[in-house]
Amino acid sequence: MSGIREVFPVEAGGFTTAGEASATIKQILKKLGVDAGVVRRVAVASYEVELNLIIHSLGGELLLHVDDHRVRITSQDRGPGIPDIDLAMREGYSTASEDARSLGFGAGMGLPNMKRNADQFAITSDPGVGTCIQMDFNI
């Protein structure tokens, strides 16, 4: 079966709409009756990834795909890409700008937090082209 597919565009630097995509994703999963614990983990991870797009990327989109055995969140952006993924995955490492830090972001917990909450986590990045993160949550 095909399931539910939704696309949420996320603008670079769009703090006014920050959190809307992940809030909508959360809402959809609740309507579908997905287990509360899973919703919670998706909420945490999708909020982190949405904020990542706003703070670090040049813009991109979040894709939600739900079928009867898993929730998949895919984030695709248009750059700048991550040169050293292992370094970026380390807790506490951040390249957030002063602007973003002054808003309380940039603790370097984003990627580790996503990985911790997802059942499966995959990241690929092409410097200059963009980053793709795929997270699966078993229902």
Binding site: I4, G19, K31, G33, A43, V44, D68
Partner: protein, 436 residues
Amino acid sequence: MPKTYHSVRLEKERCRGCTTCLKRCPTEAIRVWDGRAHILDERCIDCGECINVCPYHAKVATTDALSSISRFPYRIALPAPTLYGQFRGVACIDDILTGLLHLGFDAVFEVARGADIVSKAIMDALRHKTLPKPLISAACPAIVRLIQVRFPDLIDHIVDIRQPMEVAALVAKREFCQANDVPEDQVGCFFITPCPAKVTAIRNPIGHELSALDGAISILEIYGMLSAKIRKPMPTEKLATSTLFGVGWAKGGGECAALHAENSLAVGGIEHVIRVLEEMENNKLSDLEYFEGQACIGGCVGGALTFENSYIAKNAIRKLMAPMPDLSPDVAVDTKYLRNYPLYNTLPILPSSIMRLDEDIGEAMRKLEQIETITKTLPGYDCGACGSPTCHALAEDMALGFAGEMDCIHKLKGRLQDMAQQMLEISHTPRTPRAK
């Protein structure tokens, strides 16, 4: 399934079918059908928001009449501390409590004392138990029900200790019976309530079976009579025994203050509470120790069944608290209360499944897709004229079979224009002259 009890209800004759309550309900529990508001029972959390906003006072709360206390030989009044803020120029709490005795009660027991006991029990839990952070206050039943309906994944953060009014009733009844040597069934405990959410919580307790209270009388019901009694000069009895922190529970932030929890957050107003709970769901507040959320702005003083403006009431309470000794409930309350009374929940707080579209996830996905398709055909004005709060809610109602496409007046208008055009075309059909 038994019909859920609600204190909030509609006075049909007064309702004009406007969209004020429809747009303000935090759980989208209201529909306007056939020119009248209808409350969807399973969704309503009795927050009282609709009572506060209805311009025609068509939304009301079912409470007990003062006369109902006569069904018990002995009656105890349990005033919410919010009551203390309703009167101007009253210098001490004893005046108000004495006034209550003159309304036909045999005894008064301050719910603020219950709040003292609950404060101590929560402080004890914060010290000795490993609890999810932040711990969420269970004081406002509307917020607990909001969490059941909209944030089921936060249920395990809710404090598992009964509400101050319940604890107060347990202690009041036992102490009265022991002091006067009467059986418990002869004694009625009546909560003087600031809001409908508490009335519902007495009829349908969350977290335990039966309420220790026998009824709830609204502050508005006794306000007139009580202020007349208070104004009359009378010998005041020494009745107030709670700490200033117990009294402070009436105001937003009062619970956090009573707990002396430095790392806490107090939020009033249901829309703000929803926003903060969203943050909590995203794990953005896990460094916080305690969260006090209240449906009403300003806390219980903003309840729908109070008389005084919430800010004025808050100030009045602050003045009454000022001369009281700064004694923490942790020190003031004897630990025997924590041991001798059933303060802790005995039943789990269950998530409500009302937000889900179907029990079967495949079927729910099919409905969700249908809703998204319908939403795209609607104008997106969210005008409420169809009787559903938003276009999206109408789409959901349509997919679930509660509404039809022509309930949307904009769609109806378009359809009528098409039909008028068609009629015009029909009436103008040129006739070819008959061949001779």
